[in-house]
Symmetry: C2
Subunit: 346 residues, 2 copies
Amino acid sequence: MTPHPRNGRAPSVKDVAAAAGVSLGTVSNVLNRPSVVSAATRERVERAMAELGFVRNESARQLRAGTSRALAYVMLDGGNPFFHDVAEGIETAAEAADLSLFVCNSNGRSDREAKHIDRLVQQRVQGILITPVDPDAGHLTEIAQRGIPFVLVDRFSRSGGHCSVAVDDVLGGRIAVEHLIDRGHRRVAFVGGPSSIGQVRERLQGARAVWAEFGMPEEDLIHLPTEAMTVNEGRSAGERLAGLPSRRRPTAAFCANDLLALGLLQHAVTAGLRVPDDLAIVGFDDIDFAAAAAVPLTSVRQPRQELGRTAARLVLDEATNPDHVHEQATFVPALVARASTGTVRR
Amino acid sequence: MTPHPRNGRAPSVKDVAAAAGVSLGTVSNVLNRPSVVSAATRERVERAMAELGFVRNESARQLRAGTSRALAYVMLDGGNPFFHDVAEGIETAAEAADLSLFVCNSNGRSDREAKHIDRLVQQRVQGILITPVDPDAGHLTEIAQRGIPFVLVDRFSRSGGHCSVAVDDVLGGRIAVEHLIDRGHRRVAFVGGPSSIGQVRERLQGARAVWAEFGMPEEDLIHLPTEAMTVNEGRSAGERLAGLPSRRRPTAAFCANDLLALGLLQHAVTAGLRVPDDLAIVGFDDIDFAAAAAVPLTSVRQPRQELGRTAARLVLDEATNPDHVHEQATFVPALVARASTGTVRR
DNA sequence: CACGCCGATTGAAACATTTCAAGTCCGTCC
DNA sequence: GGACGGACTTGAAATGTTTCAATCGGCGTG
């Protein structure tokens, strides 16, 4: 409470002990096992702590304990609200377990990701949750080798050497395209890239599978590759789409995420196309902005918060349960139909 | 490198020293002052570290050093991309100073904010950057009293007892409304709330000032209060706006942030209004989604990354410079005119 | 040959906390 | 009155790192 001036270091248990006239072990007991301390002493110690403005030193605590009381989530793209919602889910679970959550953002850069991981390992965090730039990168397996619990979020573990949490992206691709076929579309674009992203490949794979099952000609499902999954790239895909000769031009687009879809939507509206009549659009993720777009966006919903909560649960299990077995949690995506695919095509 | 099994604790400097056949002080020298160690010894030690998979224990380091190598940013609303861009700016500066950045999200909840701050103080972070729920709350002054460098971000310090970084919100309100008057609007709505938020008050104040200067009747600048600054609230403000009798209904709206503006825009489009002809809209912040909206949004731009960079600079100055004096950095907002206010009204 | 110097290395102390075996004090029971 | 038990408190050890004064060994100089 008392302003403690810049005189020197922050008060420690030792100072509190001196002020309260007890041993330092007793102060520690007040902190960690209040029930074993007599009421009178406890009160005296608590008053001393308040007076000095004592705050536990987490480093010392950690040093003694050997591990920190924190989880970490390294997210792929801070600009994509999807990852925020995932982080919220993780935070909820962390809070329930009385752990802190460090949120880091690699912003798609592998070097930044590695740097963050380095620091987290140095901090001895209890576990690392990560949506990696490249799920097969070496520094990931290194984490596991160190014995640090870790979970892939929104990515699958190919090797099975650790836990992962994701939705079934192939299925997601299927339901998106089936919805479009259902609405009467016979020429559809798949917008997304780069193909190095597993998600992009799988969503496309699902799209192609259902396309073939309905007996559509392969060349009528057109892949418009993008450099990244951003609004800007979506806009540029829109330009390319508009540039196609009209007999080849798709009447609908399935975008690998909502940012692309929003960019595409914006381009379409600017170019004077009516959505969905001239161009229907389906996104992926169902971020809040999707519902809020000027033409509310049909999207494939991922249970974002639950993804996060489950990931946190798995990493905590790995951290605390000696019989832990790695688990690949898979969620089922669901189509949320809105105005951007609203009408059945004649 | 070598997978170190779950046998026990992670290797420490002591283990490295033993493996390399040197004293533990030498290992520390290799880590912190490589130049004083002979090349041969250094190499031997480095090999031992690699073999054992040694990673510095940051807690011990911190304990000894008395302070951590980290800054923290407690943001107000993880769902608002504006704060992300600010965080990016901070991270850039932190990276340059070789510090970690912990990003926390209070999500507008005072209790969560307090909890985060508690943990950060326990971690002995070097400085705290915060966009607080309430800039006058007690726990903020407590931070300062503890002697922890801290900076208000996107808020002004009323007391002047600490640094702050923000744009001139009154001016922001002025240029937004002046732009609308310029476009021929004679009845304008201000959408924003709650009034407990300083920003809302100041933007409204600027709006009113310029309104009066142009000799407009006070009652033609209508305040539509909202409960929060979200897309949803923007939509609901749209409904209220549509419900006004037509002779009272504004032809333009100035929203206290872009999320509100996007919500309002969405409602307008859904309701069949043409933007900007039936309703012109100005937002605030100029987040990326503003430009990407179906009708690109005119907005008052804040230098978001620079806000973050400056805040980081100030907190570092407070942390390292004994002659530090508190500074209220003020930036000038700029209007970015786009389609949502595109035409001059007859 | 003794001396001092220099570069390289060492050992011990310090940081703040937690834990735990050992200790003290007091009352009760035989 | 002495022993025992229980409630409470204590002191020391341990955690991993950094720092710094001290030491060591070798070499050149007087």
